[in-house]
Symmetry: C2
Subunit: 342 residues, 2 copies
């Protein structure tokens, strides 16, 4: 089977008996063309099954109608959901999104930044897992647009769409305090990460408001992954029983799952012996036993908003300014109960 060449504009023009520019005008609706000729062109397009060559277009337009999406890993449902949101918003504008998963591939962020740069992408949505901005991403901000999700770079005024991590954290900490807990341990996210920082700040606010000295509550720094939740739970709980916390506040759901695992493995009942809360409200959170009390982030909307903001930036719109932090909502489920009386 001869692998037949795709029809080009030239073919269409020939078939319709008009010039190249005319075809271009009808394809892009960018110039005046008489209705009968327009019809002829449209016919030719249909008959030849013509599709414009986007490479040529991007070359000429110096823009690819494509954005990049850098996401640490897809196995984390929170990230997956954000990605879906980005994709949704992009597809509505006929924009393609190219996916980069640095953590899964072992490639550095910079590797991708390089790749993206050469593709002349219009912009990039960047979800970080490390809190450090690769230098090339930074460079991208000069030629293209970059928007961060649930992340902020103090020092660089990068546009970002975030949810109100601090408030969400404060509320859930308040909730566990109000349930009666006094011995609380904190399992935080990777420190340089803005979201981790904000959540910690929120927890501490609530603690302070309840008259506790935040500096005295045990804190363990994790990496937002399940494994570290498990290990840190071990650290937090393997102490003198009199000192043992009655509640564990985890900075995201994955780590809370890890903690849950630990408890299961060690015969601790949740929430009987220990209350546990998370953050994010991934779908799995309402599936585990006990169903996890956590803070819902509107992951989908966050993603869509990020893409929207990015498009605004790309089009140089006046009102392309980062939205207010998205509100979070406390999801009270079953993993919190009053501490057992001593």
């Amino acid at each position: 089977m001869a692998k037949k060449r795709r029809p080009t504009m030239k073919d269409v023009a020939a078939h319709a008996g008009v010039s190249l520019s005319t075809v271009s005008y009808v394809v892009n609706d960018s110039g005046p063309v008489a209705s009968d000729r327009r019809a002829r062109v449209l016919d030719a397009i249909r008959i030849l099954n013509y599709t414009p060559n986007e490479s040529a277009r991007s070359l000429k337009r110096r823009s690819a109608s494509t954005i990049g999406l850098i996401v640490p890993d897809l196995a984390n449902q929170y990230f997956a959901l954000v990605a879906e949101g980005v994709e949704r918003a992009a597809s509505e504008r006929g924009v393609l999104v190219v996916l980069c998963v640095p953590q899964a591939t072992g490639k550095s962020d910079d590797f991708y930044a390089q790749l993206l740069r050469s593709q002349r992408l219009d912009g990039v949505v960047y979800l970080s897992a490390t809190g450090t901005l690769p230098s090339l991403i930074l460079e991208l901000t000069r030629s293209g647009a970059v928007v961060l999700v649930d992340e902020q770079m103090p020092g660089f005024e990068l546009p970002a769409v975030v949810s109100d991590n601090r408030r969400g954290a404060r509320e859930i900490a308040q909730h566990v305090i109000e349930t009666g807990h006094r011995r609380i341990a904190l399992i935080g996210g990777p420190r340089p990460l803005w979201s981790a920082d904000q959540r910690l700040a929120g927890y501490r606010e609530a603690l302070a408001a309840a008259g506790q000295n935040p500096d005295e509550v045990p804190f363990f720094g994790g990496d937002y992954r399940q494994r570290s939740g498990y290990e840190l739970a071990a650290k937090a709980l393997e102490v003198d029983p009199a000192e043992r916390p009655t509640a564990l506040i985890c900075a995201n759901d994955l780590m809370a799952f890890g903690a849950l695992e630990y408890c299961r493995a060690n015969g601790l009942s949740v929430p009987g012996d220990l209350s546990i809360v998370g953050f994010d409200d991934v779908p799995t959170a309402s599936l585990v036993t006990p169903r996890l009390t956590t803070v819902r982030q509107p992951a989908h909307d966050l993603g869509a908003a990020a893409a929207g903001l990015l498009f605004g930036l790309i089009d140089d719109e006046e009102d392309a300014t980062p939205p207010m932090p998205f509100p979070t909502t406390l999801m009270e489920r079953e993993s919190v109960a009053p501490p057992a009386p001593r």
Copy 2:
């Protein structure tokens, strides 16, 4: 701040005092060039911070070094994992992956096929949720390459990488039978889907081997989503207690989760009152209570293999032939127990 144009080959050539073609030769290592000149060019590239314009390249080369990935939805961890696998294999070859999530965006598969076609993508990895092949995907097979994951189109000999669904299904059904269950209900996937079909076939084989007439075991067709697991579990269980199944075999984990939810909501103990098994072994499967007995599919590897096969096809390699079905492995956990004595 003047938005400065990216340097082009011309700039590099001028800076190095050589011709365009020479620069191209060193960039692609595609022609002879004296070592001193090569060095000069390399220097110029570094100094100017030059990156080739991929749009121009694709235009000239008629290929974009980019593949498409069509995945029904990312919230399903199985799909997310496959996607990661694809991404990993692609990034190793410096190939970009453009992500399409038809279900999340409400766009049809055809919409994306159209988009992909115009981008002159080198190929597409396609995960279906419907079992019907969009006509445009079919058309893509003529100009580019398409490989299916865990899916096969009877009639069209499309290359596919699959795991041994049938055997996996047979084994897990065997397992529940051997545990003592005789009253079993099946919650299947969307019928036209090959994987759903294979799994069903596997279940029936095991049933038949155990002396049961497969046609007499209750079957409920779902859509691989959690909600339908819930609803179908309801249907399967809300029958005369004497008839009520003691085990529920679900064609994927998500539906098993739905069934689990139903049991929880209705005070049924798993596996005390009812055994439940799934398929896929998504990360959440070992997180729910009871931990779900299921069949592991090597999602990551499936994705990577699919991408690998696609590259082989693209490069017209002789040995680019679909791999043997990947073996699955039975993950015995806690959601299966002998049926309660009557």
